[in-house]
């Protein structure tokens, strides 16, 4: 299944690995921040409404 990357295997694989780590980290961080902020705002609005 793995293509034969020849003498450039290290080059290609490192480019893919670093890029995917950066992109996955960006998506995970954005998603986590979104969930956290929504939860905090919901709690604050409930607290504010109930005085």
């Amino acid at each position: 299944m793995m293509p034969d990357l020849g003498k450039y295997a290290g080059t290609v694989l490192s480019a893919y690995a670093i890029s995917l780590v950066l992109l996955v980290a960006l998506v995970a961080l954005s998603w986590w921040q979104a969930r956290r902020m929504k939860r905090r705002l919901d709690a604050a609005e409930t607290r504010y409404r109930n005085g």
């Binding site: 020849g6 480019a15 890029s19 950066l22 954005s30 921040q33 979104a34």
Partner: protein, 242 residues
Amino acid sequence: MSLWEYANPKKFIATADAVLPFVSVLAAAALLTGLIWGFFFTPDDFRQGSTVKIIYLHVPAAMMAINAWAMMLVTSLIWLVRRHHVSALAAKAAAPVGVTFTLVALVTGAIWGQPMWGTWWAWDPRLTSFLILFLFYLGYLALWEAIENPDTAADLTSVLCLVGSVFAILSRYAVNFWNQGLHQGATLSLDKEENISDVFYIPLLFSIAGFVLLFVALVLIRTQTEIRRRRLHAIELRERMA
């Protein structure tokens, strides 16, 4: 219906909630198709060997790094002219996405350059203008964090965005302005003769579509977060005053 309706934070959040699942699924599908097709099912280039597979990351990331700045420029101008807060927050939300894409483009470019050019880095017009764009992204993010008043921060970052646009334009057209340096000309062209072969071109189009949709999804979700952060800040202020 007017575009300006989305300047209403509630309307923006509701619309983003409705659109996000579709955009996210399409982004994942296009990106996976482009990368899997490009990595596993395309041949080596006769000159560059298997390193040509880096094109599916490098070109879309570089393209979106510049386009993200262009989007920030438009939303910054809207903030400066019409004072819509959602617009300023959308620019703020796009910056971390843009800086990550710029970093991906710089890193993959360096890794690709080493075996092809014999060096990780050269002070080539395109590479240099891209590095300056990266530094502008970092400066833009730092400026948002450094200023406490959100309207002042939006004003100053918008001006910085206008200045940085010069380097975004230079990054895109540097290879046309100066016929020197190591970086090749544009990868994609409307001229069939100049364009890359279809065997690389079609998976590249999927990858580009994936990056565009990923950018849209991330900007939507991050803008929602920024709107909520501002609302939370307002509630906490009112609670402290009471």
